[in-house]
Symmetry: C2
Subunit: 355 residues, 2 copies
């Protein structure tokens, strides 16, 4: 039996959720939460509160997570591992996860691993000591045997933002290849031919898939991918974008466009080009990836590929709730479409040879 996407039979086997009660009562889940809690019931209009209570009773909903935990041996907590909440990518992902888990009365425990595998192990151990029911992790690398161990121990794991190459774990990611195609096609349409790609680490799916997407789109446009114009950083940071762009400028100055691995790397390219006396977009066009907050405020405003981070977080939480209810069946992989956002960092290719 194949589960229909997003609302499979696994879902119906799970406990009644706050959202179910909300649907039956015709109110927002937050209203259900208020109405069911004696301490907050007074905040809800009396008639609405009564409707919610009737709906909860008819569905057999149990609101108290501790009470539920005692009955089902669940803690109703989910461990969420991210590299760093101060990286602007992660707040909307975490917010999407939290909002969706909250509707099912699950609580996320968030830990920052700083992309340090040792720290990740410590955080995982601490979360297991707290008896979390499952994990969502944004820290996947291709070396992920320890995640499969968690699954084997009965703890569902869902990957968010980054997937793994062997497809062994469920994941919700951006469609990185599509995004790079959108970026490349945009600069090709502007007349650029010598196009560089300065991307992230290859052991992260966001690094290797974007590199693959770049190569495929260049090939389809009939353009060569030249080794000298492709760089791979150790991290997705402005510092690494700056370093790679300086190396590129030292090696070859014929390029007229850079498709960066993400927005932070694009900012590093701004800096390196500026130091070299080149102007963006007059001399070199730059495309980022993510459309992180304030990308529209940079100088120049950054043309980039928008990733729906909040939605990626929300769908990862949904997928995890599915796996908690029924972890049989092959892992699902959801890729959410990206969208090109054209701003001031891209312009027609300069004419007349080498700029």
């Amino acid at each position: 039996m194949i589960a229909p996407v997003g609302n499979g039979p696994a879902r119906t086997a799970t406990a009644v959720t706050l959202r179910d009660v909300a649907r039956v009562a015709g109110v927002h889940p937050a209203t259900v939460s208020r109405a069911l809690n004696a301490e907050t019931r007074a905040l809800v209009n009396r008639e609405t509160a009564e409707r919610v209570l009737r709906a909860a009773e008819s569905l057999g909903y149990r609101p108290n997570p501790i009470a539920r935990g005692l009955k089902t041996n669940r803690s109703y907590t989910v461990g969420v591992l991210i590299p760093d909440i101060t990286n602007p990518l992660f707040p909307p992902i975490v917010r999407g996860i939290e909002d969706r888990l909250e509707e099912s009365a699950y609580t996320p425990l968030v830990a920052n691993t700083d992309n340090d595998p040792e720290r990740e192990q410590v955080d995982l151990a601490a979360m297991r000591a707290r008896q979390v029911d499952a994990f969502i992790t944004a820290t996947a690398r291709d070396d992920h045997a320890f995640l499969l161990d968690l699954v084997a121990a009965g703890l569902p794991v869902v990957l968010v933002n980054r997937g793994v190459q062997d497809g062994s774990l469920p994941a919700v990611t951006p469609d990185d290849r599509l995004g790079m195609r959108q970026a490349v096609e945009h600069v090709v349409a502007l007349g650029h031919r010598r196009i560089a790609h300065l991307g992230g680490p290859h052991e992260l799916s966001t690094g290797h898939r974007r590199h693959e997407g770049f190569a495929a789109a260049m090939r389809d446009a009939g353009l060569p991918v030249q080794d000298v114009l492709v760089g791979s950083g150790r991290r997705f940071t402005a510092q690494e974008g700056y370093r790679l762009c300086r190396e590129l400028l030292a090696a070859d100055r014929s390029f007229t466009a850079i498709v960066a691995g993400n927005d932070l790397m694009a900012l590093g390219c701004y800096d390196a080009l500026g130091e070299a006396g080149l102007r963006c977009p007059r001399d070199v066009s730059i495309v980022g990836f993510n459309d992180m907050r304030f990308a529209d405020r940079f100088n120049p405003p950054l043309t980039t590929v928008r990733v729906p981070h909040y939605e990626i977080g929300a769908q990862a939480a949904d997928l995890l709730l599915e796996r908690i209810a029924d972890s049989s069946g092959p892992p699902r992989h959801i890729e959410l479409p990206t969208e090109l956002v054209i701003r001031g960092s891209t312009a027609p290719a300069p004419t007349g040879g080498e700029r």
Copy 2:
């Protein structure tokens, strides 16, 4: 007896922490965590692991939070209420809280209230159902009787970023008055005399203290505070900054500088001035507040008042751990100093009358 700031006797009465073990063993707390956990011990050099185990034993440290919880009737979780993790102010505050709590083996549970008092009540109730030991909240308004109820119920509360006017709760905040003085003195030194203040809501300490700081600094500079040049927004957002700046432009165009309530409001001022055909900083200088991430990347780069958000979060966690150990004694209020960061949005006042 007066507790010395930052390391009072309350601290010595608390349980032995991971940090204590780290100090005795002469290693980083993360190393202690690894060494004490059987699953991660292999990650640590054998000699170091033995030193840590000896230190832990001699101090009587108990690493497992669940085991500790059973003995002491604590959950070793702390509820953290923030308006919204996607507001760039809060990730560094949360990171500071998390890093410091982790060292004492406490786990934060973070909830986003969206500055909605009803949602805040729901989140509080959910956290109480999870039996958190204490709260840190960044959502304080002057109406905060419910927080005093928590304290009366034996749940310590520490305010972070925002305080309350009556001083009834311990708090770690920026020195908002000092920050506004730094902003005003900077534009006064540049020759500005007609200076506007477009700030946040007065029922938030960050709103009213910055307003007070503005008024005091203007007075000390011998300049009048004119009603027409002072506005107060409903929220600390770019939209409100934009709205207030448009109202200001409609009412009076003689001002040459705006001291904004925060960086987002300053961005809204950029937009409103641009629409009115005025250039920043040539026609109007603008100062922000916070030095949030990417303020240096805006166009123009924003002159602003830097607030040490990570440190504010870390000190709030320290203060909470103090209160958990001993909640007697008056609430302490810690104000951390701010620092002016001069960038491209401020310039000498235009000469020749009305610009």
